[in-house]
């Protein structure tokens, strides 16, 4: 039982969950406008790499994060242009972008830093760790909640902000409407494709933050393909959370906890394969209970036209 009371387990859960949560929120925005973004993995990777590049050239962490956002915005422009303007299949574009991101980052790693595999520099400064004034003095809880990078706190603020945005603002309703029934939305004078562009760009910015947290927050280095499936996990978290910000946060926390747990269990002689498998099995089981919603069927339609 001591094991589950260990505060550092939960603290590392929060660290692990942040990149997944940020990307999953981005995925939720895209899903809400009827574009199913399989390219999250690639977007995070671009964010992670450009954060390191920004840090290397400016030496300023804040500028590095901004640079990461900028780069992922440019990259997500490709996605939106291909899928909205050229009406290419979103899944195909997403898959292609994942590959492009993997190739581009590894290639640029060679071109910019002239190293292969990973870039690490001991002078590089990562994201600062914030000690929250009053919170950090609470015995057990303080250990968990305090001492994280600003992006960790930002991600949870964003959950609330997005929830309010979706369900309490006019723009939010327009966004939901253009996903649920584009034709009806268009007849009301809502500029559907403009909203879709906006959603994809928002998703890009969030993935940029996710990447920055991955390469500058959790560690201070870049490794080839360091996302290692986190984008797909985020995608699954989006689905499991029914593209509701609060739900997405809940399912991301589940994945983050399992991630932290499986790392912790490596210390014991327990096979980690099963703890790592658990979130996927839970997701499949959960999908039995949360069935199709209206906007999901729109997403399905765009998925199923495979040619």
């Amino acid at each position: 039982m001591d094991f589950f009371l260990d505060a550092s387990l939960y603290a590392s859960t929060l660290r692990m969950v942040t990149p997944i949560l940020l990307a999953a929120l981005g995925g939720a925005i895209c899903a809400r406008v009827g574009l199913f973004n399989v390219g999250l993995e690639g977007l995070i990777l671009i964010g992670a790499f450009s954060a390191i590049v920004g840090n290397h050239f400016t030496g300023n962490v804040f500028a590095a994060v901004l640079f990461a956002i900028l780069c992922t915005l440019i990259f997500s422009m490709i996605f939106s242009f291909m899928s909205i303007h050229l009406k290419a299949n979103v899944i195909v574009v997403g898959i292609a972008l994942n590959f492009l991101a993997l190739g581009l980052t590894t290639f640029s790693l060679r071109a910019v830093f002239d190293v292969k595999g990973a870039y690490y520099n001991k002078d590089m400064v990562g994201l600062p760790k914030w000690d929250v004034p009053i919170l950090k003095d609470i015995p057990w809880l303080g250990e968990i909640l305090s001492g994280h990078s600003p992006l960790v706190y930002l991600s949870f603020v964003l959950v609330i902000a997005l929830q309010l945005f979706f369900f309490k603002t006019v723009t939010g309703f327009r966004l939901l409407a253009s996903g649920e029934n584009p034709t009806a939305a268009k007849s009301l004078g809502i500029k559907v494709s403009r909203i879709q562009y906006g959603a994809v760009l928002m998703c890009g910015a969030l993935c940029g933050l996710a990447g920055a947290q991955l390469s500058l927050g959790n560690v201070t280095m870049f490794t080839e393909g360091m996302t290692s499936g986190r984008g797909f996990i985020a995608l699954v978290a989006t689905m499991l959370g029914q593209s509701n910000p609060i739900g997405v946060a809940g399912s991301s926390l589940l994945f983050g906890f399992m991630d932290a747990l499986s790392i912790r269990l490596q210390g014991f002689a327990l096979p980690t394969h099963f703890t790592m498998m658990l979130p996927y099995i839970v997701t499949i089981a959960a999908m039995l209970f949360f069935k199709d919603k209206g906007y999901m069927q729109e997403a399905r339609k765009s998925n199923e036209s495979s040619r």
């Binding site: 299949n89 292609a96 993997l102 689905m239 099963f274």
Partner: protein, 349 residues
């Protein structure tokens, strides 16, 4: 003459995409300061330069062709099967286990191993199809999820119960398969093995199946126009189970021939890290789900990959130029749908 024109038109877009991909690669090469012609020459040499390199390319293409065929069938029926990776891994694992533990003569074990691979890949894939048909669970997500479960399960099996403890204990792998069960090499001293013939035959059989059988027609109809298909009496659920089983069976077969022809054991990560499954999906996309086209596209992608390795050996240009070319290629082919979409829109409504 009309037919020829039509063929030319359908080839135009992929050829254009190849050209754009190579142009993007040229930009990347010039950024790192390499000579474009020299680099592409090295790439060509690495893929087709000698008989040895050519067979290397073909043996890399073998699993990609098989996976691509499976995905192509599912696409044709209108299902996005993203689970080839898990299906391939389970197929490979069961083929390895059958080949190691089944008693009997070599040819018998070989056949049994291949069949075991097909069946387990097929069942894993049909399971996702069943979840969709029975519970309306999104196939795209379930197949993605089942990938992780399959690779983790296979990883567990070879790290604990069936781990090879004879040699260096560092690798998570099964023991070596007996030499009598290996797929024969086609040429002495080359890596190309009998699996390539299986893949080529598979491509032709799938092409004939889609073209000339009732089932094949129903599959195409379901993908092309689901409403019309259901009006014509095609049951979506049944067809889904059927096409997903075959689709996964091809992926399982891909895993089996890799194990029986190249690695001779199940080695954790040896099938997932080269990204065979994704290359297979890309080959299908490139060929617009045409079985024979998929085989050709798979060889093209494999040539880009082996060529990239050759290029990296002999020049300063990094290997990843070839993955940039591949990705740009797919992006441009995906715009093909649009191209025909615009035309149809102009002609129709």
């Amino acid at each position: 003459m009309d037919k020829l024109l039509q063929l030319g038109r359908s080839l135009l877009q992929p050829l254009l995409a190849v050209f754009v991909g190579l142009a993007a690669g040229a930009v990347a090469i010039s950024i790192v300061g390499g000579s474009i012609t020299e680099t592409y020459a090295e790439m060509w040499k690495g893929a087709f330069g000698s008989f040895y390199f050519f067979t290397n390319t073909l043996s890399r293409a073998t699993p990609i062709i098989l996976i691509g065929l499976g995905v192509a069938l599912a696409f044709r029926a209108g299902f996005f099967n993203m689970g080839s990776e898990g299906q391939m891994v389970l197929g490979a694992l069961s083929a390895a286990v059958t080949a190691i533990y089944l008693p009997g003569p070599g040819w018998f074990k070989l056949t049994a191993a291949i069949i075991a691979g097909i069946i387990s890949g097929g069942i894993w894939s049909a399971f996702a199809g069943w979840l969709d048909a029975r519970f309306r669970m999104n196939l795209l997500i379930t197949t993605l999820l089942l990938n992780y479960i399959a690779t983790l399960f296979a990883g567990y099996i070879v790290s604990y119960p069936l781990k090879d403890r004879t040699g260096s204990a560092a690798m998570a792998q099964t023991v070596m398969i007996d030499q009598s069960v290996w797929l024969p090499k086609l040429f002495k001293g080359m890596s190309l093995h009998g699996g390539f013939i299986i893949a080529a035959v598979g491509a032709i059989l799938l092409f004939l199946f889609m073209r000339y059988t009732v089932k094949g027609y129903e599959t195409r109809m379901l993908g092309g126009n689901p409403l019309f298909a259901s009006y014509g009496g095609v049951q979506r659920g049944k067809m889904m189970l059927f096409s997903m089983f075959i689709s996964g069976g091809f992926a399982g077969l891909a895993g089996s021939v890799e194990v029986l022809g190249t690695q001779y054991r199940y080695l954790d990560g040896a099938l997932t890290s080269p990204g065979y499954a994704w290359s297979g999906i890309m080959a299908t996309l490139l060929a617009g789900s045409h079985p024979l086209g998929t085989a050709v596209a798979a060889i093209l992608l494999a040539a880009l990959q082996t060529g990239g390795m050759g290029m990296e050996r002999n020049t300063d240009v990094p290997l990843e130029v070839s993955s940039i070319i591949q990705a740009v290629l797919i992006l441009f082919v995906s715009a093909k749908f649009t191209y025909s979409f615009i035309k149809r829109k102009k002609a129709g409504s």
